[in-house]
Amino acid sequence: MQSAVPQRSQTFDQAFVDTIIAERTGRPGALLGILQKVQEHQPAQYLPTAVLEYIAAKTAIPLSRIYGVVTFYALFSLEPQGRNSVCICRGTACHTRGSRDLLETAMMSLGLAQGQDGEMEALSVTTADGRTTLRTVACFGQCALAPVVEVNHTIFGHMNERSLLKELGALDQGDLLP
């Protein structure tokens, strides 16, 4: 049986990181591109601390600056990401059309705990089996389709609890990557 939880391993493809850094070094704003490519290349789509330390040593960019960039952009993750991504819009238009209920439904259905103190804003949680990451975003810019949910990079508009449960049920249930 495969281990279900994604490995919080510190391993990374050093040769790949080296080529990415070599391609971009010296260009202004190179860090953002390096981090993005490296995260995409990681099996669990996240940046382990070992990678950050390696990039800092290679590029002579201070570690705290790299950490600042990684935590500023929602694109980067310091935690392993699930294989499926579900993004629920919490913008004003989606909120008025019931996106809070959708979020609660999704959390219940995926078996995720509520945030601390009932706080549900700016959330990014991964199920214990590492299959699905549930996230909230401020706005997709698709307010006419409110409430909007993005499942594995496809936008679904006019969602209700039933259609959301249907999409969640159809998520990739296949084996996890090693």
């Binding site: 950050l52 201070p62 705290s64 950490y67 600042g68 935590t71 700016a122």
Partner: protein
Amino acid sequence: MPSQITVRIDGVLCTATEGQTIFEVAEANGKVIPSLCHMEGVSPAGSCRLCLVEVAGVDRLLPACTTPAQRGMAVTTTSDRLVRHRRLALELMFVERNHVCAVCVSNGHCELQALAMSLGVTYVRYPYNSPRLPVDVSHPRFVLDHNRCILCSRCVRVCDEIEGAHVWDIGGRGIGSRVVAELDQPWGDSQACTSCGKCVQVCPTGALVEKGYGVEEMTRSNSAVARLAMKKGAAS
């Protein structure tokens, strides 16, 4: 050689060198513009928004510390509108974290407190956020208290530009922003920190303090770090 220009500050004609910021010109001519993030000798950040000034012909307010002085500019450094904005900026700083002067080691030597008193901010009009923030006492000599931090980023710039260690940076975003050491690790575990204490000397509030001081006892020497910056600037 950069050319000399003339700007009008509060109606007085001042001579300036091209490339100087409004803040520098005002300072050289004896005008005091309030600021919490500006520091002589390090790059400007424009993060505290207290040095906002009015420039004739520009509708919005401009930060004096990052706006270069231009030929024929007419700048106003105090007006009812500016005082209103500065008070608001201060109130929002007080609301955001836990600035409890009565139990602060910097009480009486605090730039935030002094500025609030000079601008007559005796109360705030908004509910306090009262966040539960940690205090990092892992460093053998110094303490970082997030409750008092106003994110002016003086410590970040001093550590990077004068000491060259760049231990500090701002992590996170918006209301979740925090000063972080390296990978958000305890300050005491930081490999890059040289324990020079420059960040502690330039902190405008009681966020970075030296251990061993009680309430009202912590004093700092901002100018000592500025002198170092000048020397470094002259050498390079």
